[in-house]
């Protein structure tokens, strides 16, 4: 039988079998389209609190699903799959899978804040979008953004040395984001700097590049700092 409501079936729920026998009956060929059920069988009761712990998500529990956010949304006008009202509902009930399905568009929120201004319950949907994007990044559902990678490289160096070395941060960042070290702006920067013959700066630069100096009496400060940050994160996100 033909599938009448094909629009209701997400492609990943369509299971194809070239050859399949069920209970001794051959259901290959025309009959081989199997569909996994779309029934929701549980809520994740802790999910809402998890999103509320991320800055921006605090007011998500206030939503009563009027749809003002989606109606006013800049991104919804471009793509009807971008539906803040729906994701907020999914957060409230803990329908995590529903949000993960849209992982490639949730982050596209442009923070125009029309939703925030129109929301009658002061949910701050824009904040929820940001919180969701952060949650997905933290859980590894989406790739780390370049700015997160930069922050990590920066922080790592602070932990170890109590200071950063510009060239090391840049090198680490470009390496981890798979970009070339030979950026045009770096070349121009280097050429113009060379015109001034900065002998002293050059010596310092070369020494720091090789010696990787630490801040005086940094000692175990980095470890303590690292532990403090970890504890704060755990306290906020559980």
């Amino acid at each position: 039988m033909a599938i009448h409501e094909k629009s209701l079936i997400e492609p990943e729920r369509l299971l194809h079998h070239d050859e399949l026998v069920v209970d001794g009956v051959d259901v290959s060929g025309h009959w081989n389209t199997m569909i996994t059920p779309r029934t929701l069988t549980d809520y994740d009761d802790d999910f809402e609190a998890k999103i509320q712990a991320i800055p921006g998500g605090e007011n998500v529990h206030r939503c009563w699903q009027c749809g003002s956010c989606t109606n006013s949304c800049t991104m919804y006008a471009q793509n009807v799959q971008f539906n803040p009202r729906y994701w907020i509902y999914a957060v409230r009930l803990g329908l995590k899978e529903e949000i993960i399905k849209d992982k490639d568009i949730v982050w596209q929120c442009v923070s125009c804040n029309k939703c925030t201004n129109i929301c009658p319950k002061d949910v701050k949907p824009e904040g929820v979008m940001k919180a969701l994007a952060h949650w997905m990044e933290e859980e590894g559902i989406t790739d780390k953004t370049p700015s997160t990678i930069f922050d990590e490289e920066f922080t790592e160096q602070i932990y170890h040395r109590g200071r950063i070395e510009d060239s090391h941060v840049l090198m680490g960042f470009y390496q981890k984001t798979g970009q070339s070290m030979f950026q045009n702006w770096l070349r121009v920067f280097g050429l113009r700097l060379a015109r001034h013959l900065p002998v002293h700066l050059g010596l310092k630069f070369g020494r720091n590049l090789l010696m990787k100096p630490r801040t005086k009496s940094w000692g175990r400060t980095g470890e303590v700092l690292q532990q403090y940050v970890r504890e704060q994160k755990e306290a906020a996100h559980g």
């Binding site: 779309r38 029934t39 069988t41 009761d45 509902y89 409230r92 009930l93």
Partner: protein, 349 residues
Amino acid sequence: MQDTVLIVGSGPSGLSAAAQVAGAGYKVVMVEKEETLGGAPILSGYAKLVPSGEWAKDAIGRMVKRVEDDKAVTIHKGTRVTQLEGEPGNFTAKLSNNKQIKAGAVVLATGFTHFDSVNKPEWGFGTYPDVLTSTQMEQMVASGKIACPSDGRVPERVAILLCVGSRDRQIGREWCSKICCTVSANLAIEIKEMSPETDVFIYYMDIRTFGLYEDRFYWKSQEEFKTKFVKARIAEVTASGDGRLLVKGEDTLVKRPIVIPFDMVVHAIGMDPNQDNPEISKVFGVELEKHGFLQKGEQYTNTCGTSRPGVYSCGAAYGPETIDDSIAQGAAAGGRAVMDLAALVRKAG
């Protein structure tokens, strides 16, 4: 006889009408079919009332005491009116205790009957012990402990189903019972207060917490007590096999079927016409409107009227009503009866 008003029913509206009539210097004969005064809030053991937050037995208890202490009020408990003859200013009522009452006016404060959830068998009431009605849940709150009736465990999740016995053509109930949304939001708050580890979900078609109930109950339950509102009319409540209940339906906001496990399910039952209304209609000679509640008289100049002159009504006898408004209408009906009696005396000169 023109100094006496017969009041039938002793719920919030009847008690209010009695106090109004007695306060105006007239006599009251109050007839109550049950052995206890106070009506539904007392007989069904309501917990804290909406919107005052006072315990029913305290608030309604004060109304009962005020009437019982009034020398101008004669009370017949466990009694029904079996016959009413006469006209405004001159009624004669026969009671089931064989007494005869002369009265100038009659106030029917005969209220409503709670919807019987057995009439919606697909929602599991009467089949599973952990499916309760909102009146039973009120009693559980009043008892001070939230626990599953089946085995006494603290429920992790409670579902409240709205519109049970309301807004349902299948069972001939085409009205909104008006107060269940607010009462359910209030129940959700009470459950969370008493049992913080319990999550409460309210399954709704619309939320009708009208007027000032909006933020005081709906918003408060959602924002302060984390009640979750799910837009779905439940199709069926079944057992899961591991001692829990399965709530089946369609979540209309995600456009998908749901089968969600719960520990307790509460029916927010609606207000039916008083099951005695056919008899009341016959005995008092008053008409019923199409749903079976008492037919209102013309509202603008015959306030609190019925289809029979000299017979007045108030509160949930007319249709689903809140306790506060029933009390206000009771006072209005008492005032109306007294006003008409005074007019008759003046006319007679």
